[in-house]
Symmetry: C2
Subunit: 435 residues, 2 copies
């Protein structure tokens, strides 16, 4: 029986700067448009929702952006995360391919990578006098991460939780409340939009797009209150690049020299965990031109990258957000209720959309059943039960490792979170009762 191999960094080896992909993009990022005028948005229009520092990061052309000391010290409670070589999985797959994963769930208080940006956003908001943050959450990974970060920085936190999850997944709600957040089911009676939807259907299950609309509305109508988003936007993806920057150092430790991995894989809801791992390597590829294929794994239930259009669309259902140029299934699209709640989003990050459109990132889509089968293989070989979202990345890794069975290749993927909050999905999978 082969054993796992871990590659660890000391906390002082944690990156001191984030990797900004914007100046590296092969095509300039199409600007967000104002929903009012359809003209390019004036960044000032965002100040009602976000602190100035995050708006600056949203449009920054700097290659590297310094991570403030306070954020680094707070992140050091939970980072650097380990890089692990999945030797047992390799053995099970009978492949020559060396498979590595960056594991974001091990030390995260809420079990996923989301806390990396939650801490940064809470810090900048506190610094600029924000007293409360509002946000939305689907299954609850993002909401619980922000609840934790807000607790650390003494911010009030109000989370609009998609009603279907609010009713069916009380555990994530318990964590948010344990960390002091206020959690409300969405659609709610707290906004006109929510009231309208409830009047049409009192049993409305809600959606991420609707919850975003409500969270924005609450932020706009309260004093000293801003809004926080867990994916899609440039500054959110920026904060996640600590994952890939650590992985570059760890991959050198593992492979002795830096020939980067041949494949980099991550799952994609809005794009933040994929970008967090892949962008620093993609920058290396752009600059030094090493051969690498970046694979973005999505769900067939929300396959915007494989099947969506590349066009301007809204980020929310009430069409309140700026228009973003992205791969989208349409802001009105409501994905079926798969267990990988984090992948149930109609669009994808504009920066990632440019990289897909220019052939620098290749999408792959997987059915829920296939993802859980991959998750079972991984749990049995590596002893870690993956989040259903991450399981989609694992399904892609298994395909790639089997294709290159006899080649001396390397795969690196992001195990963005554990599945200990998603055992209901595993229970249904084992009972062959998956939707």
């Amino acid at each position: 029986m082969r054993k796992r191999k871990r590659f660890e960094l000391d906390e002082n080896e944690m990156p001191k700067k984030w990797c900004n992909i914007l100046p590296e993009l092969p095509k300039p990022l199409p600007p967000p448009l104002s929903p009012a005028t359809n003209e390019p948005l004036n960044p000032k229009e965002l100040e009602a929702l976000f602190p100035k520092e995050l708006i600056n990061q949203e449009i920054s052309k700097e290659h590297d952006i310094t991570i403030p000391k306070e954020i680094r010290e707070t992140l050091q409670d939970i980072r650097p995360s380990p890089l692990i070589r999945a030797q047992r999985l390799e053995e099970f797959l009978k492949t020559k391919v060396r498979i590595y994963y960056k594991y974001e769930g091990e030390r995260s208080p809420t079990g996923s990578h989301k806390v990396n940006t939650a801490i940064a956003q809470a810090f900048y908001n506190t610094k600029e006098g924000t007293e409360s943050l509002t946000t939305e959450t689907g299954a609850g990974q993002w909401g619980s991460a922000l609840a934790y970060a807000c607790h650390l920085f003494d911010l009030n936190c109000k989370v609009m939780m998609v009603k279907a999850s609010y009713d069916q997944k009380p555990h994530r709600r318990t964590i948010m409340e344990l960390f002091g957040a206020e959690v409300h089911p969405s659609p709610s009676s707290k906004t006109e939009f929510g009231k309208k939807l409830l009047s049409e259907d009192p049993q409305h299950p809600g959606s991420l797009g609707i919850a975003i609309s409500e969270a924005i509305t609450l932020a706009l109508k309260q004093e000293q209150t801003k809004y926080s988003l867990g994916s899609v936007l440039n500054h959110v993806l920026l904060h996640q690049t600590v994952i890939g920057l650590e992985a570059i150092q760890q991959f050198q430790m593992a492979e002795n020299e830096f020939l980067g991995p041949d494949f980099i894989v991550g799952c994609v809801g809005g794009g933040s965990n994929f970008a967090g791992l892949a962008y620093p390597f993609i920058r290396e590829k752009m600059r030094n031109g090493y051969e690498m294929q970046a694979v973005a794994a999505e769900s067939t239930a929300a396959s915007k990258m494989s099947d969506g259009d590349y066009r301007y669309d809204f980020g929310d259902t009430a069409n309140m957000t700026p228009l973003l140029k992205m791969y989208t299934l349409g802001s009105e699209y409501i994905p079926p209720p798969i267990h990988a709640g984090g992948l149930r989003y109609h669009g994808v990050a504009p920066s990632l959309s440019v990289l897909i459109n220019t052939g620098n990132v290749s999408p792959m889509k997987y059915k829920q059943q296939t993802a859980f089968e991959a998750a079972e293989i991984f749990a049995k070989s590596e002893g870690i039960i993956p989040a259903p979202e991450s399981a989609h990345a694992i399904a892609a890794v298994i395909d790639l490792a089997r294709e290159s069975k006899n080649e001396e290749k390397t795969i690196l993927f992001n195990l963005s979170g554990h599945g200990l909050f998603d055992l209901l999905g595993y229970q249904k999978y084992l009972a062959n009762e998956l939707e």
Copy 2:
């Protein structure tokens, strides 16, 4: 805001030998008695249940017992575990006391220390030709740990799960089944004893003592099948001493010189996580006589150490096990259904009982409500949601830290597991609905 400090060991610094407390005990361990004759048990009588190597460990007088290479390599997937200084908790408590914890939940596939002995027991059984293991589990921590270990060593695993938990806590069952174990509610129709109880009460909620009786019965009637216990016995506690042996090295790193901690704290169900941390330090104390107080935290729902008798008693309800001299509430005692399922046991390890009886370990008992209040403080300050069992240790730590508020003392406790499988308990706590 102060940050946590971690003290890590490399995997090659993991102990190469277990610490055997038996030769260190201030009074010889009273021998187990045969239930048939009431005479001291002939170790051969145990061979129907346990492999010879584990029986040898059960009665060994060696000070140090070598950890086989195969066990060390398997443990290295999940060990060494970190020692963490709880500076945020210290800050919250406004205490000068330095508080450290050994965290067994971070890398354990099933979230607790139980896997340390599960791996050792699975290995020795495989080595001696066992094909199947039977065991019991309450809330499921032990059962899931053994299921994982059996999967690693290609053993069949049959778990008798206390019916109340089987019905109310499906998630632990899902993990056991994901790792390939067969899980049955106890009382079951698989044994005469189970049938008898079900005929008296078809809705019988079961108990750990009953599940032990059934698991032993199944082991005795099947070929190549042995029984595995998750606590109480000497060999089980022995396997857990890697925790304290690592902590001795890490505490030296943390405090620069080795003056051991002034207080060592752990929660006690059967005694294995407490012994795992405390025994190596107690050995240091016996040998070098440094000043230290060992505190064993139990639940008021099963306060055998505080309120039980020190006498010979059975380990199970059907009175099939050897008689052990221990602090006990009586083998017929059924504790109320607290969320800390791991503390719901009528007796406690014989070796720990000797140490309590000779004044080397002091029990403290806590109500469920107090334990959850301590858990909330810990979660908010350290960002880790503790298992309800471990929360009892935290309650004791908080009391000790407040008593010694202005003294330069140190406390080390065992955070034996995380509470991510116990969020129902937290949900009820937050809603003020705790039993």
